[in-house]
Protein backbone atom coordinates (compact mmCIF):
# COMPACT_ATOMS: atom_id res chain seq x y z
CA UNK A 1 0.00 0.00 0.00
CA UNK A 2 1.46 3.35 -1.08
CA UNK A 3 1.31 6.39 1.20
CA UNK A 4 2.47 9.94 0.54
CA UNK A 5 3.68 12.84 2.67
CA UNK A 6 3.10 16.49 1.85
CA UNK A 7 6.87 16.85 1.43
CA UNK A 8 6.57 14.52 -1.61
CA UNK A 9 8.01 11.27 -0.29
CA UNK A 10 6.27 7.92 -0.58
CA UNK A 11 6.30 4.86 1.68
CA UNK A 12 5.24 1.45 0.43
CA UNK A 13 4.03 -0.62 3.36
CA UNK A 14 4.24 -4.42 3.29
CA UNK A 15 2.21 -6.80 5.41
CA UNK A 16 5.22 -7.95 7.46
CA UNK A 17 5.72 -4.45 8.86
CA UNK A 18 8.58 -3.54 6.52
CA UNK A 19 8.37 -0.64 4.09
CA UNK A 20 10.34 1.00 1.31
CA UNK A 21 10.70 4.77 1.01
CA UNK A 22 11.34 7.02 -2.00
CA UNK A 23 10.40 10.36 -3.53
CA UNK A 24 7.40 11.00 -5.74
CA UNK A 25 7.43 11.45 -9.48
CA UNK A 26 6.37 15.05 -8.95
CA UNK A 27 9.39 15.60 -6.71
CA UNK A 28 11.91 14.12 -9.14
CA UNK A 29 10.46 16.24 -11.91
CA UNK A 30 10.76 19.42 -9.84
CA UNK A 31 14.36 18.58 -8.85
CA UNK A 32 15.51 17.87 -12.38
CA UNK A 33 18.36 15.55 -13.33
CA UNK A 34 19.67 14.01 -10.12
CA UNK A 35 23.40 13.41 -9.94
CA UNK A 36 23.87 11.98 -6.47
CA UNK A 37 21.99 10.72 -3.47
CA UNK A 38 23.18 10.55 0.14
CA UNK A 39 21.63 7.64 2.00
CA UNK A 40 21.60 6.75 5.71
CA UNK A 41 23.36 3.68 7.11
CA UNK A 42 21.87 0.30 7.88
CA UNK A 43 20.73 0.32 11.49
CA UNK A 44 19.82 4.02 11.56
CA UNK A 45 16.50 4.89 13.21
CA UNK A 46 14.25 7.05 11.07
CA UNK A 47 11.51 9.19 12.53
CA UNK A 48 8.70 10.57 10.47
CA UNK A 49 9.14 14.16 9.39
CA UNK A 50 12.91 14.11 9.93
CA UNK A 51 15.60 14.37 7.25
CA UNK A 52 17.10 10.97 6.41
CA UNK A 53 18.75 11.53 3.02
CA UNK A 54 19.50 14.19 0.47
CA UNK A 55 19.52 14.33 -3.29
CA UNK A 56 21.77 16.44 -5.47
CA UNK A 57 21.12 17.96 -8.84
CA UNK A 58 23.86 19.94 -10.58
CA UNK A 59 22.99 23.22 -8.92
CA UNK A 60 20.98 22.22 -5.82
CA UNK A 61 20.85 19.85 -2.93
CA UNK A 62 17.52 18.96 -1.30
CA UNK A 63 16.75 17.23 1.96
CA UNK A 64 14.54 14.16 1.89
CA UNK A 65 12.21 13.68 4.86
CA UNK A 66 11.12 10.30 6.06
CA UNK A 67 7.36 9.86 5.74
CA UNK A 68 7.35 7.10 8.39
CA UNK A 69 9.35 5.89 11.39
CA UNK A 70 11.37 2.68 11.38
CA UNK A 71 14.79 1.04 11.36
CA UNK A 72 16.89 0.98 8.19
CA UNK A 73 17.39 -2.64 7.10
CA UNK A 74 18.81 -2.04 3.65
CA UNK A 75 19.83 0.84 1.43
CA UNK A 76 19.42 0.83 -2.34
CA UNK A 77 23.04 0.78 -3.46
CA UNK A 78 21.98 0.97 -7.11
CA UNK A 79 21.00 4.59 -6.55
CA UNK A 80 24.51 5.43 -5.38
CA UNK A 81 25.89 4.27 -8.71
CA UNK A 82 23.03 5.47 -10.84
CA UNK A 83 20.89 8.26 -9.34
CA UNK A 84 19.23 8.68 -12.75
CA UNK A 85 17.05 5.70 -11.78
CA UNK A 86 15.07 8.11 -9.61
CA UNK A 87 14.34 10.32 -12.60
CA UNK A 88 13.49 7.32 -14.76
CA UNK A 89 11.11 5.60 -12.40
CA UNK A 90 10.49 7.31 -9.08
CA UNK A 91 8.26 4.59 -7.66
CA UNK A 92 10.73 1.78 -8.35
CA UNK A 93 13.71 3.73 -7.09
CA UNK A 94 13.38 3.07 -3.36
CA UNK A 95 15.97 4.74 -1.12
CA UNK A 96 15.81 2.48 1.95
CA UNK A 97 13.94 -0.52 3.25
CA UNK A 98 12.91 -0.21 6.92
CA UNK A 99 11.52 -2.57 9.52
CA UNK A 100 9.10 -1.75 12.35
CA UNK A 101 7.48 0.81 10.10
CA UNK A 102 5.07 3.10 11.91
CA UNK A 103 2.89 5.54 10.05
CA UNK A 104 2.12 8.95 11.47
CA UNK A 105 -1.29 10.54 11.02
CA UNK A 106 -1.87 12.64 7.99
CA UNK A 107 -0.27 10.56 5.23
CA UNK A 108 -2.19 10.50 1.98
CA UNK A 109 -3.26 7.72 -0.34
CA UNK A 110 -2.24 7.97 -3.97
CA UNK A 111 -5.58 9.47 -4.88
CA UNK A 112 -5.42 12.02 -2.07
CA UNK A 113 -1.86 12.93 -3.04
CA UNK A 114 -2.85 13.53 -6.65
CA UNK A 115 -5.64 15.71 -5.39
CA UNK A 116 -3.14 17.58 -3.22
CA UNK A 117 -0.81 18.11 -6.19
CA UNK A 118 -3.66 19.68 -8.14
CA UNK A 119 -3.91 22.37 -5.45
CA UNK A 120 -0.20 23.36 -5.70
Amino acid sequence: MLYFAKSHEWANLNEDGTATIGISDYAQNELGDLVFVNLPEVGDELSSGEVFADVESVKAVSDVYSPISGTVEEINENLLDNPALINESAYDAWFVRVSNATLPDGLMTKEEYEHYLATL
Partner: protein, 438 residues
Protein backbone atom coordinates in the same frame (compact mmCIF):
# COMPACT_ATOMS: atom_id res chain seq x y z
CA UNK B 1 48.13 61.03 -6.99
CA UNK B 2 47.84 57.76 -8.89
CA UNK B 3 44.49 56.67 -10.25
CA UNK B 4 43.13 53.86 -12.34
CA UNK B 5 39.77 55.52 -13.01
CA UNK B 6 39.64 56.09 -16.78
CA UNK B 7 36.61 58.40 -16.96
CA UNK B 8 37.59 62.04 -17.32
CA UNK B 9 36.24 64.74 -15.01
CA UNK B 10 33.80 65.90 -17.65
CA UNK B 11 32.59 62.34 -18.28
CA UNK B 12 32.02 61.89 -14.56
CA UNK B 13 29.93 65.08 -14.53
CA UNK B 14 27.97 63.77 -17.51
CA UNK B 15 27.22 60.55 -15.69
CA UNK B 16 26.15 62.35 -12.51
CA UNK B 17 23.92 64.55 -14.62
CA UNK B 18 22.36 61.54 -16.29
CA UNK B 19 21.45 60.32 -12.82
CA UNK B 20 20.01 63.73 -12.09
CA UNK B 21 22.32 64.41 -9.16
CA UNK B 22 25.02 66.95 -8.48
CA UNK B 23 27.57 65.20 -6.33
CA UNK B 24 28.94 61.84 -5.29
CA UNK B 25 27.59 62.56 -1.85
CA UNK B 26 24.04 62.10 -3.08
CA UNK B 27 24.92 58.54 -4.08
CA UNK B 28 25.59 57.83 -0.43
CA UNK B 29 22.20 59.05 0.79
CA UNK B 30 21.64 55.85 2.79
CA UNK B 31 24.79 56.24 4.89
CA UNK B 32 23.92 57.76 8.29
CA UNK B 33 25.36 61.26 8.56
CA UNK B 34 26.77 60.56 12.02
CA UNK B 35 29.29 58.04 10.69
CA UNK B 36 30.09 59.58 7.31
CA UNK B 37 33.76 60.56 7.23
CA UNK B 38 34.25 64.30 7.35
CA UNK B 39 37.95 64.20 6.51
CA UNK B 40 40.19 62.20 4.27
CA UNK B 41 41.41 58.84 5.58
CA UNK B 42 44.64 58.78 7.55
CA UNK B 43 46.72 57.58 4.60
CA UNK B 44 49.69 59.16 2.84
CA UNK B 45 49.09 61.14 -0.34
CA UNK B 46 48.90 59.12 -3.52
CA UNK B 47 51.98 58.69 -5.66
CA UNK B 48 52.95 58.27 -9.28
CA UNK B 49 54.00 54.86 -10.56
CA UNK B 50 57.66 55.85 -10.58
CA UNK B 51 57.52 57.06 -6.98
CA UNK B 52 55.84 53.85 -5.82
CA UNK B 53 58.46 51.73 -7.59
CA UNK B 54 61.17 53.79 -5.92
CA UNK B 55 59.60 53.54 -2.45
CA UNK B 56 58.80 49.84 -2.66
CA UNK B 57 62.24 49.02 -4.03
CA UNK B 58 63.75 50.92 -1.10
CA UNK B 59 61.67 48.79 1.27
CA UNK B 60 62.72 45.61 -0.57
CA UNK B 61 66.36 46.61 -0.24
CA UNK B 62 66.05 46.59 3.54
CA UNK B 63 65.95 42.79 3.21
CA UNK B 64 69.11 40.74 3.00
CA UNK B 65 68.98 38.47 -0.02
CA UNK B 66 71.14 35.40 0.66
CA UNK B 67 72.71 33.88 -2.44
CA UNK B 68 72.63 30.42 -0.89
CA UNK B 69 69.84 29.08 1.31
CA UNK B 70 70.35 25.98 3.43
CA UNK B 71 67.14 26.39 5.37
CA UNK B 72 63.89 24.53 4.63
CA UNK B 73 61.40 23.80 7.41
CA UNK B 74 58.38 24.27 5.16
CA UNK B 75 59.81 26.63 2.50
CA UNK B 76 62.17 25.05 -0.02
CA UNK B 77 64.52 26.94 -2.31
CA UNK B 78 64.49 24.75 -5.41
CA UNK B 79 65.48 25.99 -8.85
CA UNK B 80 62.59 27.54 -10.79
CA UNK B 81 62.94 27.23 -14.59
CA UNK B 82 62.41 30.53 -16.45
CA UNK B 83 59.36 29.27 -18.30
CA UNK B 84 57.67 28.43 -14.99
CA UNK B 85 57.84 32.08 -14.03
CA UNK B 86 56.66 33.50 -17.35
CA UNK B 87 53.66 31.33 -18.24
CA UNK B 88 51.54 32.16 -15.17
CA UNK B 89 52.09 35.85 -15.95
CA UNK B 90 49.97 35.56 -19.13
CA UNK B 91 47.13 37.98 -18.50
CA UNK B 92 44.34 35.60 -19.47
CA UNK B 93 45.45 33.39 -16.58
CA UNK B 94 46.48 36.17 -14.23
CA UNK B 95 43.42 38.41 -14.46
CA UNK B 96 40.60 35.85 -14.71
CA UNK B 97 38.20 34.95 -11.92
CA UNK B 98 37.22 31.42 -10.86
CA UNK B 99 36.02 29.68 -14.06
CA UNK B 100 32.27 29.95 -13.43
CA UNK B 101 31.47 30.48 -17.12
CA UNK B 102 32.85 27.29 -18.61
CA UNK B 103 32.39 28.43 -22.23
CA UNK B 104 34.72 31.36 -21.60
CA UNK B 105 37.17 29.54 -19.31
CA UNK B 106 38.12 26.32 -21.07
CA UNK B 107 41.81 27.23 -20.87
CA UNK B 108 41.80 27.59 -17.12
CA UNK B 109 39.55 24.57 -16.59
CA UNK B 110 41.74 22.37 -18.77
CA UNK B 111 44.89 23.55 -16.99
CA UNK B 112 43.32 22.55 -13.66
CA UNK B 113 42.22 19.18 -15.07
CA UNK B 114 45.83 18.58 -16.15
CA UNK B 115 47.09 19.68 -12.73
CA UNK B 116 44.66 17.26 -11.02
CA UNK B 117 45.99 14.46 -13.23
CA UNK B 118 49.60 15.30 -12.38
CA UNK B 119 48.92 15.38 -8.62
CA UNK B 120 47.10 12.05 -8.88
CA UNK B 121 50.14 10.62 -10.72
CA UNK B 122 52.65 12.06 -8.26
CA UNK B 123 50.82 10.76 -5.19
CA UNK B 124 49.58 7.56 -6.81
CA UNK B 125 46.03 8.36 -5.70
CA UNK B 126 42.84 8.09 -7.78
CA UNK B 127 41.81 11.74 -7.77
CA UNK B 128 42.93 15.21 -6.70
CA UNK B 129 41.14 18.51 -6.21
CA UNK B 130 41.98 21.85 -7.82
CA UNK B 131 44.11 22.76 -4.73
CA UNK B 132 43.60 24.62 -1.45
CA UNK B 133 45.46 27.42 0.36
CA UNK B 134 48.60 25.61 1.52
CA UNK B 135 49.93 22.40 3.01
CA UNK B 136 48.89 23.19 6.58
CA UNK B 137 45.30 24.06 5.73
CA UNK B 138 45.13 21.06 3.38
CA UNK B 139 46.01 18.84 6.35
CA UNK B 140 43.29 20.49 8.44
CA UNK B 141 40.72 20.08 5.64
CA UNK B 142 41.70 16.42 5.31
CA UNK B 143 40.95 15.78 8.99
CA UNK B 144 37.43 17.16 8.46
CA UNK B 145 36.90 14.78 5.50
CA UNK B 146 37.36 11.75 7.72
CA UNK B 147 34.88 12.49 10.49
CA UNK B 148 31.51 10.81 10.70
CA UNK B 149 28.89 10.39 13.40
CA UNK B 150 30.76 7.60 15.12
CA UNK B 151 34.34 8.75 14.73
CA UNK B 152 35.50 12.29 15.32
CA UNK B 153 38.87 12.19 17.13
CA UNK B 154 41.97 13.15 15.11
CA UNK B 155 45.47 11.95 15.92
CA UNK B 156 48.42 13.90 14.56
CA UNK B 157 52.08 13.10 14.79
CA UNK B 158 54.35 15.63 16.46
CA UNK B 159 57.00 14.86 13.86
CA UNK B 160 54.92 17.10 11.55
CA UNK B 161 55.65 20.75 10.77
CA UNK B 162 54.71 22.91 13.81
CA UNK B 163 52.60 25.21 11.60
CA UNK B 164 50.61 22.25 10.29
CA UNK B 165 50.15 20.95 13.83
CA UNK B 166 48.92 24.32 15.06
CA UNK B 167 46.65 24.82 12.06
CA UNK B 168 45.05 21.40 12.56
CA UNK B 169 44.62 22.19 16.26
CA UNK B 170 42.93 25.48 15.37
CA UNK B 171 40.51 23.86 12.90
CA UNK B 172 39.62 21.17 15.44
CA UNK B 173 39.12 23.76 18.20
CA UNK B 174 36.81 25.61 15.80
CA UNK B 175 34.61 22.64 15.01
CA UNK B 176 34.60 21.35 18.62
CA UNK B 177 36.36 18.14 17.67
CA UNK B 178 38.99 16.42 19.74
CA UNK B 179 42.60 16.24 18.56
CA UNK B 180 45.38 14.25 20.25
CA UNK B 181 49.08 14.38 19.44
CA UNK B 182 51.36 11.39 18.98
CA UNK B 183 54.84 11.95 20.37
CA UNK B 184 58.07 10.99 18.62
CA UNK B 185 60.82 8.56 19.42
CA UNK B 186 64.21 8.91 17.75
CA UNK B 187 62.85 11.55 15.36
CA UNK B 188 59.97 9.42 14.12
CA UNK B 189 56.34 8.88 15.06
CA UNK B 190 56.22 6.53 18.06
CA UNK B 191 54.13 3.67 16.70
CA UNK B 192 53.53 2.08 20.10
CA UNK B 193 52.02 5.34 21.33
CA UNK B 194 49.98 5.61 18.14
CA UNK B 195 48.61 2.11 18.77
CA UNK B 196 47.63 3.00 22.31
CA UNK B 197 45.72 6.07 21.10
CA UNK B 198 43.79 4.27 18.36
CA UNK B 199 40.45 3.92 20.09
CA UNK B 200 37.24 3.26 18.16
CA UNK B 201 36.33 6.96 18.06
CA UNK B 202 39.45 7.89 16.07
CA UNK B 203 38.57 9.05 12.57
CA UNK B 204 41.97 9.95 11.14
CA UNK B 205 45.70 9.89 11.74
CA UNK B 206 48.00 12.50 10.19
CA UNK B 207 51.71 11.93 9.59
CA UNK B 208 54.20 13.81 7.46
CA UNK B 209 56.54 12.10 4.95
CA UNK B 210 59.42 12.92 5.08
CA UNK B 211 58.70 14.41 8.46
CA UNK B 212 59.70 17.80 9.85
CA UNK B 213 63.19 16.47 10.66
CA UNK B 214 63.58 15.22 7.08
CA UNK B 215 63.30 11.61 8.23
CA UNK B 216 61.32 8.91 6.42
CA UNK B 217 58.47 7.52 8.50
CA UNK B 218 57.48 3.87 8.29
CA UNK B 219 54.19 4.64 6.55
CA UNK B 220 53.48 0.96 5.76
CA UNK B 221 53.56 0.05 9.44
CA UNK B 222 51.56 3.11 10.43
CA UNK B 223 48.93 2.42 7.75
CA UNK B 224 48.56 -1.13 9.00
CA UNK B 225 47.73 -0.19 12.56
CA UNK B 226 45.56 2.77 11.53
CA UNK B 227 43.45 0.59 9.25
CA UNK B 228 43.28 -2.21 11.80
CA UNK B 229 41.61 0.30 14.11
CA UNK B 230 39.17 1.34 11.36
CA UNK B 231 40.54 4.87 10.99
CA UNK B 232 41.84 6.67 7.89
CA UNK B 233 45.44 7.63 7.22
CA UNK B 234 46.37 11.07 5.94
CA UNK B 235 49.95 11.54 4.75
CA UNK B 236 51.44 15.01 4.21
CA UNK B 237 54.14 14.76 1.54
CA UNK B 238 56.97 16.76 0.07
CA UNK B 239 56.14 16.73 -3.68
CA UNK B 240 59.79 16.70 -4.80
CA UNK B 241 60.49 13.64 -2.64
CA UNK B 242 57.50 11.95 -4.27
CA UNK B 243 59.47 11.78 -7.53
CA UNK B 244 61.71 9.07 -6.02
CA UNK B 245 59.90 7.95 -2.86
CA UNK B 246 57.47 5.05 -2.56
CA UNK B 247 54.05 6.61 -3.09
CA UNK B 248 51.81 7.06 -0.06
CA UNK B 249 49.15 5.27 -2.07
CA UNK B 250 51.37 2.18 -2.23
CA UNK B 251 51.87 2.45 1.54
CA UNK B 252 48.12 2.49 2.10
CA UNK B 253 47.29 6.17 2.59
CA UNK B 254 43.63 7.16 2.27
CA UNK B 255 44.33 10.85 1.71
CA UNK B 256 47.53 12.53 0.57
CA UNK B 257 48.07 16.26 1.10
CA UNK B 258 51.09 18.48 1.01
CA UNK B 259 52.76 21.81 0.53
CA UNK B 260 53.13 22.33 -3.20
CA UNK B 261 55.52 25.30 -2.92
CA UNK B 262 58.57 23.27 -4.03
CA UNK B 263 56.85 22.80 -7.42
CA UNK B 264 58.06 26.08 -8.89
CA UNK B 265 56.91 28.67 -6.36
CA UNK B 266 59.41 31.07 -4.78
CA UNK B 267 59.86 30.97 -0.99
CA UNK B 268 58.59 34.57 -0.93
CA UNK B 269 58.52 35.08 2.84
CA UNK B 270 55.90 32.38 3.24
CA UNK B 271 53.39 32.74 0.45
CA UNK B 272 51.43 32.36 -1.69
CA UNK B 273 51.98 28.62 -1.68
CA UNK B 274 49.82 25.68 -2.75
CA UNK B 275 47.97 23.00 -0.82
CA UNK B 276 47.45 19.82 -2.79
CA UNK B 277 44.92 17.14 -1.85
CA UNK B 278 44.43 13.70 -3.36
CA UNK B 279 42.41 10.70 -2.28
CA UNK B 280 40.83 7.42 -3.30
CA UNK B 281 37.80 7.26 -5.62
CA UNK B 282 35.75 6.12 -2.62
CA UNK B 283 36.28 9.48 -0.88
CA UNK B 284 35.56 11.56 -3.98
CA UNK B 285 32.47 13.30 -2.65
CA UNK B 286 34.12 14.10 0.66
CA UNK B 287 36.96 16.00 -0.98
CA UNK B 288 36.59 19.75 -0.33
CA UNK B 289 37.30 22.57 -2.75
CA UNK B 290 36.94 23.04 -6.45
CA UNK B 291 37.13 20.00 -8.72
CA UNK B 292 37.23 20.10 -12.51
CA UNK B 293 35.70 17.31 -14.54
CA UNK B 294 35.62 16.35 -18.19
CA UNK B 295 32.35 16.21 -20.09
CA UNK B 296 31.01 17.06 -23.53
CA UNK B 297 29.32 20.18 -24.82
CA UNK B 298 26.01 20.37 -26.64
CA UNK B 299 27.74 19.52 -29.91
CA UNK B 300 29.59 16.55 -28.49
CA UNK B 301 32.99 18.27 -28.16
CA UNK B 302 35.17 17.57 -25.14
CA UNK B 303 34.63 20.22 -22.47
CA UNK B 304 35.73 20.90 -18.91
CA UNK B 305 33.55 22.17 -16.06
CA UNK B 306 33.63 22.72 -12.32
CA UNK B 307 31.85 19.64 -11.09
CA UNK B 308 30.48 17.83 -8.03
CA UNK B 309 29.45 21.30 -6.90
CA UNK B 310 26.70 20.06 -4.60
CA UNK B 311 29.48 19.34 -2.05
CA UNK B 312 30.22 23.03 -1.85
CA UNK B 313 29.20 25.99 0.29
CA UNK B 314 27.27 27.96 -2.33
CA UNK B 315 24.78 25.09 -2.59
CA UNK B 316 25.03 23.25 0.69
CA UNK B 317 25.58 26.38 2.82
CA UNK B 318 25.98 25.42 6.51
CA UNK B 319 25.91 21.71 5.66
CA UNK B 320 28.98 21.95 3.43
CA UNK B 321 32.00 20.11 4.81
CA UNK B 322 34.20 23.14 4.07
CA UNK B 323 33.68 26.84 3.40
CA UNK B 324 36.42 26.96 0.78
CA UNK B 325 35.29 28.52 -2.48
CA UNK B 326 38.54 29.23 -4.28
CA UNK B 327 41.69 27.38 -5.14
CA UNK B 328 45.20 28.66 -5.60
CA UNK B 329 44.63 28.43 -9.36
CA UNK B 330 47.66 30.41 -10.43
CA UNK B 331 49.89 28.41 -8.07
CA UNK B 332 48.34 25.17 -9.34
CA UNK B 333 49.09 26.37 -12.87
CA UNK B 334 52.67 27.13 -11.79
CA UNK B 335 53.01 23.63 -10.36
CA UNK B 336 51.63 22.07 -13.55
CA UNK B 337 54.04 24.06 -15.73
CA UNK B 338 56.88 23.03 -13.40
CA UNK B 339 55.98 19.35 -13.59
CA UNK B 340 55.58 19.54 -17.39
CA UNK B 341 58.92 21.28 -17.82
CA UNK B 342 60.86 19.05 -15.46
CA UNK B 343 59.10 15.85 -16.46
CA UNK B 344 59.39 12.74 -14.31
CA UNK B 345 63.09 12.55 -15.08
CA UNK B 346 63.84 16.18 -14.21
CA UNK B 347 61.95 15.90 -10.95
CA UNK B 348 63.81 12.70 -10.16
CA UNK B 349 67.08 14.56 -10.73
CA UNK B 350 65.99 17.45 -8.49
CA UNK B 351 65.02 14.98 -5.78
CA UNK B 352 68.16 12.84 -6.06
CA UNK B 353 70.47 15.83 -6.14
CA UNK B 354 68.79 17.43 -3.13
CA UNK B 355 69.06 14.18 -1.21
CA UNK B 356 72.66 13.50 -2.27
CA UNK B 357 73.85 17.02 -1.51
CA UNK B 358 72.16 17.01 1.89
CA UNK B 359 73.94 13.76 2.72
CA UNK B 360 77.25 15.13 1.47
CA UNK B 361 76.94 18.23 3.67
CA UNK B 362 75.88 16.16 6.66
CA UNK B 363 78.78 13.73 6.27
CA UNK B 364 81.30 16.55 5.92
CA UNK B 365 79.90 18.54 8.87
CA UNK B 366 79.85 15.45 11.05
CA UNK B 367 83.59 15.10 10.51
CA UNK B 368 84.01 18.31 12.54
CA UNK B 369 84.53 18.06 16.32
CA UNK B 370 81.36 17.76 18.43
CA UNK B 371 79.05 17.84 15.41
CA UNK B 372 76.58 14.96 15.40
CA UNK B 373 73.49 13.85 13.57
CA UNK B 374 70.76 13.85 16.24
CA UNK B 375 68.69 11.02 14.78
CA UNK B 376 70.44 8.15 12.98
CA UNK B 377 67.60 7.52 10.55
CA UNK B 378 67.25 7.53 6.76
CA UNK B 379 66.36 11.06 5.65
CA UNK B 380 65.62 13.02 2.47
CA UNK B 381 67.09 16.52 2.14
CA UNK B 382 66.82 17.83 5.71
CA UNK B 383 68.68 16.73 8.85
CA UNK B 384 68.98 17.92 12.43
CA UNK B 385 72.53 18.36 13.74
CA UNK B 386 73.72 18.90 17.28
CA UNK B 387 76.61 21.31 17.11
CA UNK B 388 78.36 23.86 19.33
CA UNK B 389 78.58 27.63 18.70
CA UNK B 390 75.39 27.69 16.65
CA UNK B 391 74.98 31.46 16.72
CA UNK B 392 78.56 32.16 15.66
CA UNK B 393 78.41 29.58 12.88
CA UNK B 394 75.20 30.98 11.44
CA UNK B 395 76.48 34.57 11.67
CA UNK B 396 79.73 33.68 9.91
CA UNK B 397 77.79 32.00 7.14
CA UNK B 398 75.42 34.95 6.80
CA UNK B 399 78.38 37.30 6.40
CA UNK B 400 79.32 35.19 3.37
CA UNK B 401 75.81 35.45 1.91
CA UNK B 402 74.77 32.00 3.10
CA UNK B 403 71.62 31.40 5.12
CA UNK B 404 72.47 28.37 7.27
CA UNK B 405 70.09 25.84 8.78
CA UNK B 406 67.26 26.72 11.13
CA UNK B 407 68.10 26.81 14.85
CA UNK B 408 65.59 24.36 16.29
CA UNK B 409 65.35 22.56 19.62
CA UNK B 410 68.99 23.42 20.54
CA UNK B 411 70.24 22.00 17.24
CA UNK B 412 70.28 23.12 13.63
CA UNK B 413 67.88 21.81 10.96
CA UNK B 414 69.75 21.95 7.65
CA UNK B 415 68.26 21.63 4.19
CA UNK B 416 70.04 21.32 0.86
CA UNK B 417 68.42 21.50 -2.57
CA UNK B 418 69.77 20.82 -6.06
CA UNK B 419 70.44 24.56 -6.38
CA UNK B 420 73.55 24.46 -4.19
CA UNK B 421 76.82 23.32 -5.79
CA UNK B 422 79.54 21.26 -4.13
CA UNK B 423 81.89 24.29 -4.00
CA UNK B 424 79.40 26.15 -1.91
CA UNK B 425 78.87 23.20 0.41
CA UNK B 426 82.64 22.95 0.86
CA UNK B 427 82.74 26.65 1.74
CA UNK B 428 80.01 26.06 4.33
CA UNK B 429 82.01 23.23 5.89
CA UNK B 430 85.19 25.32 5.89
CA UNK B 431 83.38 28.22 7.55
CA UNK B 432 81.93 25.97 10.24
CA UNK B 433 85.37 24.46 10.78
CA UNK B 434 86.91 27.91 11.18
CA UNK B 435 84.37 28.92 13.81
CA UNK B 436 84.65 25.64 15.71
CA UNK B 437 88.44 25.80 15.78
CA UNK B 438 88.56 29.45 16.83
Amino acid sequence: MGSYVPSTQSQRQEMLKALDINSYDELYCDVPESVKLKDLLDLPKGKSELEVVRDMTAIAEKNVLFRTILRGAGAYDHYIPAIVKSIPQKEEFLTAYTPYQAEMSQGILQSIFEYQTMIAELTGMDIANASVYDGASAAAEALAMCRDRKRSVSLISLSSHPDAVKTMETYCFASNNQLKTISCKGGRTDISILESLLTDDVSAVYVQQPNFFGIFEDIDAIAQCVHKAGAMLIVGCNPIALAIMKTPSQCGADIVVGEGQPLGMPIAFGGPYLGFMATTAKNMRKLPGRIVGQTVDHDGNTAYVLTLQAREQHIRREKASSNICSNQALCALTAAVYMSTMGADGMKQAAEQSMSKAHYLQRELCKLPNVELRYEQPYFDEFLLDMPKIDQILSSLERKGILGGLPFDDGVLWCVTEKVGKDMLDLVVATCKEVLQA
